[in-house]
């Protein structure tokens, strides 16, 4: 039996065939599926993206407004807070202040203080240094 040698044999075809008219219709099939010929479809996910961007923008503006308002409010200090802060942290005494003020200004500061009798009596009972009050 003759030995099979590929180079010595007549060319052997693959044996594959195509349906009738396959290549005639092929171009049309491919052209239909090319990117340009597809109708534009607005994906629902794209719409959702637009909504998300809108919500994010509103949130960003809201947060900015809140921060801005907080910043504004810190510029106005509470008067009582400021007074107490100065009182706690100052080294200047009342006598130092009096020396700096004119007589007219001191008289303006004068406060009418109504001391109730029972409170005065209470103070005198608990204060042993009465002599100081009687002589000054």
């Amino acid at each position: 039996m003759k030995e099979f040698r590929l180079d010595n044999e007549p060319k052997i075809a693959s044996g594959f065939k195509t349906p009738e008219g396959y290549f005639e219709d092929l171009s049309e099939k491919i052209n239909k599926n090319l990117p340009n010929s597809e109708p534009k479809v607005i994906s629902i996910f794209q719409k959702r993206k637009t909504w998300m961007y809108g919500i994010a923008a509103v949130l960003a503006i809201s947060i900015s407004v809140v921060f801005y308002q907080q910043f504004q409010s810190t510029e106005t200090l509470d008067a009582e807070f400021l007074e107490n802060y100065i009182a706690r942290n100052t080294t200047v005494s009342e006598y130092d202040l009096l020396e700096l003020l004119e007589k007219e200004d001191i008289e303006k500061i004068q406060i009418d203080l109504e001391i109730q009798d029972d409170i005065l009596e209470e103070t005198m009972i608990h204060n042993t240094n009465l002599e100081h009050y009687l002589t000054n």
Binding site: I12, A13, S14, G15, K17, T18, F23, S27, L34, P35
Partner: protein, 180 residues
Amino acid sequence: MQDEKVFIAELLNPKTQNEAFQKLLREYQKPLYNHIRNIVLNHDDADDVLQNTFIKVFQNLKNFKGESKLFSWMYRIATNEAITFLNQKAKKNNTTSEELQSKIVDNLKADSYFDGDEIQFKLQKAITLLPEKQQLVFKMKYFEELKYEDMSEILGTSVGALKASYHHAVKKIEEFMNGN
């Protein structure tokens, strides 16, 4: 080469692109179909892969740098699409692409789009016994009659390695044909 540069320019120009692409389709649909069919073996699968190939070619024309011939670039896309298709089909069937090809060839006689005689069937069977790369090299050289230089550009393998691969493939096929 100059003609190819002009043609590529026509493919990239929006005004001339459509006509140029139709020319590309007419010129390459048969050779690319044959190349793909030799890999995937089944007509319907080859049809799917071929359409995907041309769509990918169209979409990636803007990325074609001209470092290789247009023909080599298209064949490379076709080869990758066909091999990927086979691998995915094999995975779906819990098998390897070699086993899948072997099974398809075993059923070729029942395929209405295979009209080969006994020796053609035996040759297809012999090819399935080769390693995957050797199968590809053999088919491209023997059935498609591509030059080694062009195959080298398409497959990214040296001419020397391709010649050696083809030589080994032929020897194994001859052994099978003589033993069966």
